[in-house]
């Protein structure tokens, strides 16, 4: 990596000469292997709100391993910056909060380190198998320690459901009927919206239907986006949009927020972290919402997908990998830390046992539903396996572009074409980069 930056280095020599008087890079290169009298300072890029308060607990108890959180704008910008820093050869933090779907990309760019040798290997039994698999990519290596997961759930306005006499859908057929009933009763109301802007949302829905968009077969990748499960999901939502009973505008817009407030968005297929979003965007509707498991394709064998969820990874530029792993292990598995994560950041922890003892009281926004976390636990149990590939961002931006066109056209057939286009763009990109593809 350094070699390819030689020209830059020459060019910057002048800059360095000019500048070095004023500012020096802090490069204390200790081995960082945890000798007790050596003080280690770690930087941690993360975007979960209030994470610094959890880290404070660690810093008080561990004067020799001090962690500083640099708050990031969210999963995508943080990863973008990390990849740029890796290319440049310096500037990366020691630790980074990484969403599960980004792990293959980060491993492929040699951005995050294999920490199996630093004690992370022993943690496998602490986490559900599916989650653990997404930080090992099915190999002997361990690339991150799971922090939280995002099993999908269905949120709905209980008051409007009762008023219109709609019962809570348990299957997607029932969901479609409920959508028709609600929109017929009041044409300004929708049970939900198809959001071309949220690839993670559509991925979760496809995962529930049994999709796994990538696969590893020996030394070759497979891309299986344009396959039966995803086609089924696309055709289903395309049909509802074509019928006009489901909205076609993106989520997370001011308009969508207004819809959550005024009741024109009657439901939301979100995930376990949904209460935070709902309370932030529509605080006045607290107590009117209820959570239920995501509707199923087959009521007799329930399944689910993930939307969101992240892990703590150690970057390849960290000079203190062992200390970083020690901290990351504490953060995501220690009962006190997990409890603090729940109360301060509102995440749904991945560590099975610690989560069970930490998640006792329903979130304030759902105080009308004391069994909120029982529903969540049920949702978490049935999450299926899903393999992400090294070019998730390409697939996701293809989703944005292709499904935006489809949603705008309101044709179910266009939704199927969008799936085909996603497959082609993703596969072509992998071939062009030189990956071995089946």
């Amino acid at each position: 990596m350094r070699a390819r930056l030689r020209i830059g280095a020459i060019a910057t020599a002048a800059a360095a000469a000019l500048i070095m008087t004023g500012c020096t890079a802090t490069a204390d290169s200790g081995s960082g292997s945890g000798s007790s009298d050596e003080k280690v300072e770690l930087t941690y890029w993360a975007w979960a709100p209030n994470l610094d308060k959890v880290v404070d607990i660690w810093n008080k108890a561990n004067p020799n391993i001090q962690v500083t959180v640099a708050k990031q704008d969210g999963g995508d910008p943080a990863i973008t910056k990390l990849l740029t820093a890796i290319k440049a050869g310096s500037g990366a933090p020691d630790l980074i909060q990484a969403e599960y779907q980004k792990i293959p990309t980060l491993v492929s760019a040699d951005a995050i380190a294999d920490i199996a040798g630093d004690g992370a290997k022993d943690l496998s039994s602490t986490f559900p198998d599916g989650v653990w698999n997404s930080v090992t990519l099915g190999s002997d290596a361990v690339y991150a320690i799971p922090q939280d997961t995002g099993p999908m759930m269905f949120f709905y306005r209980d008051d409007i459901f009762q008023q219109l006499g709609v019962s809570v859908p348990t299957t997607w057929d029932e969901y479609a009927d409920a959508a028709r009933k609600i929109h017929t009763a009041d044409p300004t109301k929708f049970l939900g919206t198809f959001s071309a802007n949220d690839a993670g949302w559509f991925t979760g829905l496809s995962q529930q239907a049994g999709a796994s968009w990538w696969s590893i077969d020996g030394d070759a990748w497979g891309v299986d986006i344009d396959a039966e499960p995803t086609q089924k999901v696309a055709e289903y939502w395309g049909g509802l949009v074509e019928e006009g009973v489901i909205d076609n505008k993106p989520m997370y817009t001011p308009e969508w927020n207004a819809g959550l407030n005024d009741g024109s968005q009657v439901g939301w297929t979100g995930a376990v972290w949904g209460p935070g979003v709902l309370s932030g965007n529509a605080a006045d509707t607290a107590g009117k919402w209820k959570a239920a498991p995501l509707p199923n394709w087959d009521a007799s064998s329930p399944s689910n997908g993930n939307w969101g969820g992240s892990s703590t990874a150690v970057t390849t530029q960290s000079k203190h990998a062992a200390a970083a792993v020690e901290f990351a292990t504490w953060l995501n598995t220690d009962p006190a830390a997990v409890q603090a994560l729940v109360t301060e950041t509102g995440i749904y922890p991945a560590a099975t046992d610690a989560a069970a003892s930490a998640l006792t009281e329903a979130p304030a926004f759902f105080s009308n539903q004391p069994d909120f976390y029982d529903v969540a636990a049920e949702a978490a149990q049935s999450v299926g396996d899903f393999t992400y590939g090294p070019n998730v961002n390409v697939a996701f931006s293809a989703y944005n572009d292709e499904f935006a066109k489809a949603a705008e056209s309101k044709q179910a057939s266009a939704f199927l074409e969008a799936v085909t286009a996603m497959q082609k763009i993703t596969l072509d990109d992998m071939k062009a980069s030189g990956f071995t593809v089946k």
């Binding site: 020209i7 004023g22 973008t80 040699d110 817009t253 001011p254 969508w256 935006a404 949603a407 990956f435």
Partner: protein
């Protein structure tokens, strides 16, 4: 930085003093020959380090690419190789890039004439003796220039979305069915409007200050000759500020080719904007979403070359036309 300047100051002071005292004028002249270079030094060093070197580096990157082996996992699976013209061919043959260029040309055709005509109209009205509330209007129209594009796009986003917009509330009350400004057919106008809002005041001020610099005797003479205000505006004022019009047109064109922040900020609000709506969004997608700085660099070079070409061509045409009028 300042240290460098001060050092050069001291050196030069030290060297200047004996020269001033000494009557040997030739020596002083020789000393003076170094002066402009010393004064240019900070600018040239900064230019080389922060503009020329990055451009050269971009040029270098544009001829490279990465090659992945096998699964591409773990260190050593990626290597950087010479790509020849592959990256240039890739972006030139990508229909998404061609589409983004087409969009921006159309966008420029909508935006630039509207903005310049409005700016000129406002400038002439400000310069008219019979207009009132000039101070208020001038400040109000100029105000949006101070609002960063990221923020102005957010504001206009709220005013565009039918669910939260006061305008659509009024249309609703009137029973009109107005399509959303962010629908595919109108989204270009929506973006052009944000750019117009942010830019019209700046161009107006440039033209207005040029008008103010024209001696009033010229107008008085024309008035005595019986010319109306409109005639004065068309026949005297506009030709006189032609250089200002050329400059504002040139800068508007450069800004148009580089449109980025507005569509980028509006994109999450609508299905009508693709991730490659404008050429710079195309660069952004390659660099940051696809993690391919090499193709992004090639496209950057193409955009920069196009900017040079268009600026040069525009100035040529303007110059020839102006000459034609002279003869």
């Amino acid at each position: 930085m300042t240290a460098t300047v001060e050092r050069s100051v001291k050196q030069r002071r030290a060297s200047q003093r004996p020269a001033a005292l000494s009557p040997a004028k030739r020596k002083a002249a020789r000393k003076r020959a170094v002066v402009p270079y010393m004064m240019l030094l900070p600018g040239i060093v900064l230019f080389v380090v922060f503009m020329a070197a990055p451009i050269v580096y971009t040029l270098y990157l544009s001829f490279q690419k990465t090659v992945v082996k096998g699964l591409g996992l773990g260190s050593g699976a990626r290597s950087q190789v010479f790509a020849g013209l592959d990256n240039y061919i890739a972006s030139l043959t990508d229909p998404a890039f061609a589409a983004s260029v087409g969009r921006v040309l159309l966008y420029g055709l909508i935006l630039i004439p509207t903005m310049l005509v409005l700016a000129l109209l406002f400038a002439l009205l400000l310069d008219s003796r019979r207009t009132r509330a000039r101070g208020f209007s001038r400040v109000s129209i100029f105000l949006p220039y101070a609002v960063p594009a990221v923020i102005s796009s957010l504001l206009w986003g709220f005013l565009y979305l039918p669910g939260v917009s006061p305008f659509y509330w009024i249309f609703d009350q009137l029973g009109w069915d107005v399509p959303s400004m962010l629908s595919p057919g109108l989204v270009m106008f929506a973006i052009a409007n944000i750019a117009l809002w942010g830019g019209v005041g700046f161009n107006m001020i440039v033209m207005y200050t040029s008008l103010k610099a024209v001696p009033s005797e010229i107008y008085e003479a024309a008035t005595i000759d019986g010319a109306s205000e409109v005639q004065i505006a068309l026949r005297i004022k506009i030709p006189i500020i032609a250089p200002a019009l050329v400059m504002t047109a040139l800068f508007s064109m450069i800004a148009t080719l580089q449109v980025f922040a507005e569509p980028m900020t509006l994109r999450p609000l609508t299905n009508s904007l693709s991730t490659t709506w404008s050429p710079l969004m195309f660069v952004y997608r390659d660099a940051f979403i696809r993690d391919d700085v090499y193709t992004a660099s090639a496209t950057s070079i193409l955009i920069a070359l196009a900017t040079f070409a268009i600026s040069f061509f525009f100035l040529r045409v303007v110059q020839r036309r102006a000459f034609g009028q002279e003869d």
